[in-house]
């Protein structure tokens, strides 16, 4: 059966070659040259960075309120030291980040009182993606009434230390600053109504019970982080 399949495949490939002469005539060169203003450097590969079990890299970043925040100064909704941090790399401009925006707000409203505040970090370089400037971040946070910190990775030094490659991308960090879960908020980033499995919420519940999150790492399509 396998043998037959291979020959069949081969024959199809052959037939395609045999016909290429015909196809050529139809093909008109259409040089629609794309003018790209600021060429974006994008990264879809995980290189250096942290995974589950690693220490979460420290940062001190400016929030949309103008103040600097780090793990040491971030509090939960009750003004206490958090039991964990929901670090989410996200931005204004990515359609999947926008599709996740309400979910991120809801996450904070649900978990910040339980000790797990959302810490959103915007990693894109505004020189490449003007819609993600600090001014635009402030505006978006104001419009939507973000209840969580929305920090600007100015100079883009923090996201590479995490190894983040896309927006939105989550790192769930526990009290000891160990990464316990990375990846997607849930199994349907594009469309909140189709969510079946809430990966991140399940991970938080697992930590609360003293268990290891399962799965501890997930993937999702997202917008590559834009660096100059």
């Amino acid at each position: 059966m396998k043998h037959l399949h291979l020959i069949f495949t081969f024959a199809l490939a052959l037939s395609a070659f045999a016909c290429n002469g015909n196809a050529g005539a139809e093909q008109q060169s259409n040089a629609a040259s794309e003018k790209s203003e600021a060429p974006a450097q994008t990264v879809a590969l995980k290189h250096d960075g942290v995974g589950v079990g690693d220490k979460a890299p420290a940062f001190s970043l400016k929030n949309v309120d103008g103040k600097e925040y780090s793990f040491e100064t971030i509090k939960d909704a009750n003004g206490n030291d958090p039991k964990g941090y929901i670090v989410i790399f996200t931005c204004n401009t990515c359609p999947y980040a926008v599709a996740s925006e309400q979910r991120i707000i809801d996450l904070h409203n649900k978990y910040a009182p339980m000790g797990y505040p959302v810490v959103a970090i915007q990693p894109n370089d505004p020189a490449v993606q003007p819609g993600d400037s600090f001014a635009a971040m402030k505006e978006r946070a104001g419009e939507m009434g973000y209840p969580f910190l929305y920090l600007f990775d100015e100079g883009q030094e923090v996201y590479p230390r995490y190894g983040a490659t896309r927006t939105p991308e989550v790192y769930l960090v526990d009290k000891s600053l160990t990464v316990r879960y990375t990846g997607a908020i849930d199994d349907s980033v594009r469309d909140a109504e189709s969510v079946k499995e809430k990966f991140l919420e399940n991970a938080i519940e697992a930590i609360e019970k003293g268990e290891e999150p399962k799965p501890a790492a997930t993937k999702a399509v997202g917008c590559s982080i834009k660096a100059a």
């Binding site: 043998h3 037959l4 490939a13 093909q27 259409n30 794309e34 974006a40 359609p95 993937k219 590559s224």
Partner: protein, 194 residues
């Protein structure tokens, strides 16, 4: 003793060669609905999996499993599979290099497949007009499966899910390009490296 079973596929194959040469390129029966989208690109493909539907001539695959053969074709062609979306700026910026490749390798065993990850509700309103207006010559398919965690690793474990992303393969050899492509030469280098 096995002559008959060995011969049958060869005969089948010959029949297919004859049949496909008689048919005008890019209008195989599966492609009847195909409009201007990406015609010339498809005749070199083996066993294109049947799509759930066509929108504006673009084959739509609802589930990853239906589109999975695109990532494992086992023949002499090198496939350059690019994941993109009309809303993804760096994706749109690199499209011309894929188009250049399609034109440069016309008639050769190199096939570009542009896999759109657009919002399904925008297949008709955004994707189809985009493909039509730009008269894309490379093959375009749309993959609607939003359960990304279930299938990203089935394309490449190197892929985090960020787009643009490009998977170049020939049989069991592959290269994953997780950065924006800056020239056709970069794609050619990946093809040569296999």
């Amino acid at each position: 003793m096995e002559n008959f079973t060995r011969l049958t596929p060869v005969v089948c194959g010959l029949a297919i060669i004859l049949f496909s040469c008689n048919a005008s390129p890019a209008t195989g029966q599966d492609q009847a609905a195909s409009a201007s989208s990406a015609p010339a690109a498809q005749e070199n493909n083996t066993e294109w999996p049947p799509p759930a539907a066509y929108i504006g001539g673009i084959p739509i695959y609802e589930e990853f499993s239906q589109a999975e053969p695109f990532f494992h074709f086992d023949n002499d062609t090198t496939y350059v599979v690019n994941f993109w979306a009309t809303w993804c700026k760096p994706c749109v910026e690199e499209l011309p290099y894929f188009e250049e490749l399609t034109r440069a390798y016309e008639g050769q065993a190199v096939r570009v497949i542009l896999v759109s990850l657009d919002f399904p509700r925008q297949f008709k309103t955004k994707l189809a007009p985009f493909v039509g207006e730009r008269q894309l010559q490379s093959a375009v398919i749309a993959l609607a499966d939003g359960r990304y965690n279930d299938w990203i690793d089935k394309v490449s474990t190197e892929w985090t899910g960020a787009i643009p992303a490009t998977y170049v393969y020939k049989r069991d050899k592959s290269r994953f390009i997780g950065t924006s492509v800056k020239s056709m030469a970069e794609l050619e280098a990946a093809i040569r490296s296999l």
